[in-house]
Structure formats: structure tokens, C-alpha cells
């Protein structure tokens, strides 16, 4: 490629990347800004926005609520998905293919907008409105199909020879499951757990509909409280909160990608 063409292309790509980088930059700069606004302004760094945030009680409680909801749902999803996907991968029974198709169809229904009215009605009947359990169950139901589907695909690729070796070596049942199968599923489980966590952490609709009291709302809902008396957004608080909101997701991504490399391994030689 001629030099000029390369330079033009590079310039164009730089412009495009600025488009994407600016909001991120804003996210990291504005929380520490003395006069926060929607524009990108560099001032002497200050922690004032954060100290103001600490003063808001519901804001901090929302952090805890988000953790309870997200981790709780992820736990339910991981436990049930690992068992179900293992069974679906290793056994054959009549109607298996139909069941898998059904899973695929349902994978985006439960947590979508369309299902909110019936889900609200259901939770009301079950007296699960305004409880963490209700939100966790709805999230779990919403993400289980996808999780099972991904994990089943993952286990399909793990050679059955490992389990056969373990069987011959003398392990069976839960021994086999916990000592061999679960560790082999590790990377797959990590991917599914991160996927669910990130999605649930950022989901607004489900907790917004199902949770009533201010003390139980998660961050995704709480962030809408930072408006002043006349309804104008308080940019400083919102940006500081956004940064805190984004941190766990970032940390988890980094940790998992370091530990598992985000690759689906599990193959062996031969």
C-alpha cells in the first residue's frame, strides 16, 4: 500500500477511535473534576464528588443490593446450568433436540420487556414483589437457558475419555462430578458466570419493576436519583457513581481473562 493511502487510512481510523474513546475518557475524568459537565474538561483533580456520594445513603446501599442480586443470580445459574448442561451433553433421550431448540427460543424471553407484565403478575401472586428472592429468581430463569446452551456446547468439546478414566480409576457419582467434571468445566463456567454477572449488574428493567422500597434498589436503578430539585442531572455525582458502577465489571473481566484467557480450551492431544 502506498504511503499516502496508509496515512489517510490511519487518520480516518484515528478519528473513528476518538468517537469511541471520548465517552470512556469522560467516565474516567469527570468524576474527579471540580466543575463536572457533559463536556470533557480537565481541572485540578478532586474527590469532592465521591465524598458527596458517600453522604447519600441509598446510593451506597444500592451497591450492596446490586451485589446480592447479581451474585445470588449467578450462583443459582451456575449451579443449575452446570448440572443441566452436563446431563444434556452426555446423555441421549427422546426429545433432546426439541428441548434444546426450546432453550434457545426461551433464552431471551424472560428478561425482555414483553414478559414484564406477566412476570409482575406472577411475582405478585407469589408474594415476591419487593424481595431480592423475586429478582434473583427472575434473573436466574432468564439466563439459565443461555447458560445451559453455552455450557452444553462447551462440555460437548471436552472428551469423554476423562470421565471414563475417572470411572475406571474408581470414582463415581458426586466424586466424579466434583473432582473431574466441574474442574474441566471451569473455563466454561467462568465465561457463563461473567456473562450473567455483567448482564444482571447492568439490568435496569427487572429490579425497577419488581422492587418498590428505596432501601432495596440496585445501582442501575439508584443512579436515576441523582437529579436536583428542579430535575436537572447532578453530573458530578452521576459520573462518580458510574465509575464505581463500572469498576466491578472491569475487575472481573481482567481477573477472568488473566486466569482463563477467555479461550475455550479443554481439548487434549490426539
Amino acid at each position: 500500500m502506498p504511503k499516502l493511502q496508509r496515512a489517510v487510512l490511519a487518520g480516518f481510523l484515528a478519528l473513528v477511535s476518538i468517537w469511541f474513546v471520548l465517552p470512556l475518557l469522560w467516565l474516567f475524568v469527570t468524576p474527579f473534576s471540580g466543575e463536572p459537565s457533559l463536556g470533557l474538561k480537565f481541572t485540578a483533580p478532586t474527590l469532592r464528588n465521591f465524598s458527596e456520594l458517600m453522604a447519600a445513603k441509598t446510593a451506597l446501599a444500592a451497591f450492596k443490593n446490586s451485589l446480592i442480586i447479581s451474585l445470588g443470580s449467578v450462583a443459582v445459574v451456575v449451579v443449575f446450568a452446570s448440572l443441566a448442561s452436563y446431563a444434556l451433553s452426555r446423555s441421549s433421550f427422546y426429545g433432546k433436540q426439541g428441548l434444546l431448540t426450546l432453550l434457545l427460543i426461551f433464552s431471551s424471553v424472560v428478561t425482555g420487556v414483553a414478559a414484564m407484565v406477566p412476570i409482575y403478575a406472577l411475582c405478585q401472586k407469589l408474594k415476591l414483589i419487593d424481595s431480592f428472592l423475586g429478582v434473583i429468581l427472575v434473573f436466574s430463569a432468564g439466563f439459565l437457558p443461555t447458560a445451559i446452551f453455552i455450557l452444553k456446547d462447551f462440555i460437548d468439546r471436552v472428551p469423554a475419555a476423562y470421565e471414563e478414566a475417572a470411572l475406571v480409576d474408581g470414582s463415581a457419582g458426586l466424586d466424579l462430578y466434583f473432582r473431574i467434571v466441574l474442574p474441566l468445566m471451569g473455563p466454561g463456567l467462568a465465561v457463563v458466570a461473567v456473562l450473567c454477572f455483567v448482564n444482571i449488574w447492568s439490568n435496569f428493567l427487572v429490579p425497577f419493576v419488581l422492587i418498590r422500597s428505596n432501601a432495596k434498589i440496585p445501582i442501575s436503578v439508584a443512579i436515576y436519583q441523582f437529579f436536583n430539585e428542579v430535575g436537572l442531572p447532578r453530573i458530578g455525582l452521576i459520573s462518580a457513581y458510574s465509575l464505581l458502577y463500572a469498576l466491578p465489571v472491569l475487575v472481573i473481566y481482567l481477573w477472568v481473562s488473566k486466569k482463563f484467557g477467555f479461550g475455550f480450551f479443554g481439548g487434549l492431544k490426539g
Binding site: A161, Y162, E164, V168, D169, G170, P183, L268, K269, G270
Partner: protein
């Protein structure tokens, strides 16, 4: 020696077809027994039936005098080495080797002692803290063997354990596996499609075809007296010569005739004149001489030089034969030569493929 692993009329079907219709087999205590055959012949299924990874649909299997037909693998106390070794990737070499002992609640000091002993014997003592993905293929293979050894099992089962090694390592592993097996005195059942491996390692070989036993015997028997055409073609480093023809009587003697090709059949064959036959002779049993008057007369078509030996293509009365010669005779293509086919080395098979001489 007593029968240690016994199959009585064992059948196994996959879907609606019988992979193994009816198998009778008796493997003796302490012997190195090989199941040999092409892919799909049922040899691996047979091995998995012994392991309990497949459950028989008919018949009875017993190990060490105990009926295990319905027993799951953990209850059978056998050790298996898989083709891809199946070393648990999330455990160190030590954890891999000790796994069968730990799962069976053997005391810690005993586990340590046994693993150290076996690992030293297989020269992998220095690898114990490594992960399986960080050691070479040959080392992985030894670890897999070590995991089998520490168990003091009823039997060793080997499922083509050498096929992932390169040629040189394979020869070495062959000798060392056999040595270990003889030292421990544990019955071994070995599955392979490599006839050379089977011949080199085994006390007895079972040649399988389409889920049935074609022949069971020592490597010498299988090589020198193949009971079926299939066995004759499958066993041997060089492809067997086959000539199709029929038996004919002349002067109270029997002759094999295929066109102009004619050869006397040694006495004692269970044959009637007119019967269709396949004659087989191994390339290494054909003797060539510079004197065209000795035996049959042939013309050399091609000579393959292999260093220590020559593979010579020779045409005899319109039939093409391969002969393997280790002596240098200074032959050239288009030379006329004498072709001697010793009657004792001749294999004759009837129309049904069964041996008749």
C-alpha cells in the same frame, strides 16, 4: 495358568446392529493378550466391555472368577491406559497418578510410597510437580502407565496407547511396557491395529474381524499358520502374495493351478480336485536363485532396494509375486530366475476363507 478374564457368549449391540454378536474368550492370568484387527472390528468394544465402560447385552463376563457382567467400572478394579492418555488437565502429575488411590481411600503414607516407587521405575520421578500439559508426549504416556501401575489392579487394559508416539519412541515404549507387565505379573489386555506391535509384545494374539474372533494363538501360530485368509492378509510386515486358482489331481498328486501357474500341493491337505482355492505365500518365504531351472521360472520386473533387503517383483507364468531377499544375488530387471516356494510355507484357503492345508 488359570483363566482370568472370561467371556461367555457375550453380545453387544449399538442401536439395532450387533457390534459383537457372540464372543467366547478366555484370557489367562498374567499373560499379555492382544486384540488385533482393523478399525471397526470390535476390539475396542471388547476392551470397554472388560472395563465396564460398555455393558454387555448378552452373555456373561467374569474377571478373577467373579461375575462382573453388570458391575460398573469402579467396582471392577482394573486399570486402563487410554489412547490419548486422559491425564486430568487440572491436576499435577502426582495428583494424576495418586488419583485412583486417593479415591479408594488408601492411607496417605502408602499413597506417597507407591507413587514414588512406580514413578522412579518409570523414570518420571522428577516430573511429579508438573502439569500434564507441560510434559512431552512420551512422558505423558509414562504418567498414564504409572497411574495404572500404582493401583495393583486385576488387569491392565491398553487402548492403543502407543499410537500417539513417534516411531522411535514407539519401539522403545513397546519393550518397556512388556517388561513392566512381566515384572508385575498383572494380566494385560492390549488393543491395537498394528500387527507388528501385536506380534512383538504379546503372549497370545486374538485377530478380530466384524465382531468375531478370526484366530487366537501365539504370534508364531498366527504368523506361520493363519487359520483364515483374512488373518493371513492382516498379519505380516509385508503384504502376503495371493493367487486364486483351483485344485487339480494328476498322477495321484494334487496340484494348484491358475492359468499357466502350477504348483504341487504337499500331501495332507483337506481338498478335493476341482475345489476353488486361494494360495498364499509370504514374500520372505519365496527363494530366488540365478538358475532358472530351480523351482518355477520367473522374470524379474522390479527391484526395490531397502538397504538390508530387497523387495523383488517377479512374474511367474503370468502371476505377479513379491519376494523379499536378504542375500545379494546381483539380479537385474528382466533377468530370468528360479522361484522356489517351499511347500511348508504355503497357505491354502478354501472358498469360505478357511485354511485347508
Amino acid at each position: 495358568m488359570m483363566d482370568w478374564i472370561v467371556f461367555e457368549k457375550v453380545g453387544k449391540k449399538f442401536g439395532t446392529s450387533w457390534a459383537i454378536p457372540e464372543l467366547d474368550l478366555a484370557i489367562k492370568k498374567g499373560e499379555f493378550f492382544t486384540l488385533l484387527g482393523p478399525s471397526g472390528c470390535g476390539k475396542t468394544t471388547t476392551l470397554r466391555l472388560i472395563a465396564g465402560l460398555e455393558i454387555a447385552d448378552a452373555g456373561k463376563i467374569s474377571i478373577a472368577g467373579k461375575d462382573v457382567t453388570r458391575l460398573p467400572p469402579p467396582a471392577r478394579r482394573i486399570a486402563m491406559v487410554f489412547q490419548n492418555y486422559a491425564l486430568y488437565p487440572h491436576m499435577t502429575v502426582f495428583e494424576n497418578i495418586s488419583y485412583p488411590l486417593r479415591i479408594r481411600r488408601v492411607a496417605k503414607t502408602e499413597v506417597l510410597k507407591r507413587v514414588k516407587e512406580s514413578a522412579a521405575r518409570l523414570r518420571i520421578g522428577h516430573l511429579l510437580e508438573r502439569m500434564p500439559s507441560r510434559i512431552s508426549g512420551g512422558e505423558q504416556q509414562r504418567v498414564a502407565v504409572c497411574r495404572a501401575m500404582v493401583q495393583e489392579p486385576n488387569a491392565f487394559l491398553f487402548d492403543e496407547p502407543l499410537s500417539n508416539l513417534d516411531a522411535r519412541l514407539r519401539l522403545e515404549a513397546r519393550r518397556f511396557l512388556r517388561k513392566i507387565q512381566k515384572e508385575l505379573g498383572v494380566t494385560a489386555v492390549y488393543v491395537t491395529h498394528d500387527q507388528a506391535e501385536a506380534m512383538a509384545m504379546s503372549d497370545r494374539v486374538a485377530v478380530m474381524q466384524e465382531g468375531k474372533l478370526a484366530q487366537v494363538g501365539s504370534p508364531e501360530e498366527i504368523y506361520h499358520r493363519p487359520s483364515e485368509l483374512f488373518v493371513a492378509g492382516f498379519v505380516g510386515n509385508f503384504p502376503m502374495n495371493f493367487v486364486e486358482g483351483e485344485a487339480q489331481a494328476q498322477d495321484s498328486k494334487l496340484f494348484f493351478r491358475a492359468g499357466d501357474f502350477e504348483l504341487e500341493i504337499p500331501a495332507g491337505a483337506n481338498l478335493k480336485p476341482g475345489e476353488k482355492l486361494t494360495l498364499s505365500i509370504r514374500p520372505e518365504h519365496i527363494e530366488l536363485s540365478q538358475d532358472p531351472g530351480q523351482g518355477l521360472t520367473g522374470v524379474i520386473e522390479d527391484i526395490e532396494e531397502l538397504g538390508s533387503e530387497q523387495i523383488i517383483t517377479v512374474s511367474v507364468s503370468g502371476k505377479t509375486l513379491l519376494a523379499r531377499q536378504t542375500r545379494k544375488l546381483g539380479l537385474k530387471p528382466r533377468d530370468k530366475v528360479g522361484v522356489q516356494i517351499p511347500g511348508a510355507m504355503l497357505h491354502l484357503f478354501g472358498r469360505d476363507g478357511k485354511r485347508v492345508n
